[in-house]
Amino acid sequence: MTAVAQAPTPVDTTAPTKNRARPRTATEWILLIAAILGALAIVFPMLLLLLNAFKSPADYANSGPLQLPEKLDLTGIRTFWETQNFPRALWNSVFISTMVSLIAVVVSVLNSFAIGIGRVRGRTWIVLIFLMANLVPQEMLFDPLFKLYDKIGLLSNPWSVILTFVVIQSAFGTYLLSSLLGTFPKEILEAASVDGATRGRVLRSVIVPILRPTLSVLMVFFFIWTWNEFLLPLAFLNTSDSLTVPLLLEQLNGERQTDTTTLIAGTLISVIPTIIFFLIFQRTLTRGITAGAVK
């Protein structure tokens, strides 16, 4: 967790140093404790997982959820690992999310190049049409798409999910990049054009390099959003080989004979990849969420 704490934030610059000279009041200490208690309440369920994932089934049955395990016991984790093909699910999730984030960024760039730089006619409406992908509830999509993918043999194939989420994620990308490119400095474009660059060349060698920071934020977002998706993957991925991490856990949860410690261990293991992204991308993430908020 240290990586999170060490990430520098712009808050540094706004904190006037002279404020610190005055001693902290009792109220301020109380407010700090309130903020910390709130944060503890947020991580509390995850701490409970950690506390209980390493108990043996007998230990779990006899002790309260808040008690420390008698000794570190890996039964739950071993059972989860042996009965479930977690590495396969992990690979499926990584493959799907990576493909979606790469392709969706390319599609967003192409769309927004035409809309933001090309200023094609009716662009407001075109953006709205792309945004429909974000507005439509997924129940509207799943039955027709299920039949479509069934017909072309894509069911239980990761590409059914990839294709679908490329469209859904690139809606946000198109919206964000179009408004960004709408204010792109024209001097740069003119200079490139004077040098004889074609449109495709300008896009590749001028616009994409300048947009790179934003594009990497978008990619991180598309990755995590796709990783967390539930309903459409549930509909399209039906074989045990094609499950993603959330689907695997949900399936385990639905099985009656699942032992509680196995379920807790599985949940804990499913949380780990998320925590890892979070530590890696913490700074990109917080920069990214605010990128979309206000132009």
Partner: protein
Amino acid sequence: MTSLAPRTRPRRTDEPARIPQRDSSKLGYWLYLIPGTLLVGLVIFYPIVRNVRLSFFHWRGGRAEEHFAGLDNWIALASDHEFIQSFKNIFLVIIAMVIVPTLLGLIIAALLFDVVGRRFGARLSSFLRATYYLPQILPIAVAGVMFSWILKPNSDGVLNQFLSVITGSTVEVNWLGGQYSTAMASVMVLMIWIQLGYPVVIFMAALQRVDPQLYEAAELDGANWYQRFRAITLPMIQPEVFVVALTTTIAALKVFAPVFILTNGGPSKSTYVPSYYAYEEFIRGTDKGYAATIASAITLVVVVVAIIFIRVQNRAERKEA
């Protein structure tokens, strides 16, 4: 390839950036829209057209024949008790996904920024902000399984055991399956838990835009914290409040997974939300035409709400300008 110099064109000063063209047509730009348009047509508009059409038919699914139903499905929907119940639940979902997180988010963001960030150090405040944000990136299926473990009925459940220890007597509440009030409350708690970090992060970023001198001036004038919050903070971060309200309201109208994972719509369909109802009808119902009607109705509501929001925002912006 022949002329490198841009053609001279009459140009207005507010004209946006544009690559000077060799030919005056913009046809070339349309080519870049082809992949995106094909994809959105296939994945979004083909299903929309199919489902809206299907909403005027009765269809058992599979190889059964479709029977034209006119407005039957839509009329039935208007008096469908389960559908109305599911829309009533949406108001509770809006409380849990929009109102509570936005209000709490304002308070926490101000607390982290004003008090923790300025008086106890930026590192601590950014660490706490990250903690509040963590549930946002946790797969909802994982969060749901975690909560249903905590809320298990009988003496097995974490929460029940916890309450037993506090009260000293055995507590065996069937939180999710027992009755509507505890089931819906559990779903709402999960939603608040997931949603809270989003406004916190957005509002804290917004607060950084506010000129600290404004606060210092207000402080010198003897304004207390609440007065500063109302007179400076709130008006300054209003655009962000708006964006949060818009995006979370749309998410609330479409909500599905928390209900699916925690309660499966139960007990006895009382925690249905519209999306869950549509899903159930598609999977288990006998008339896919009716399921398509529910899904179309949700889509309609979402689009109308989005348009209203955007109009209100545009009007507010124009007033400011």
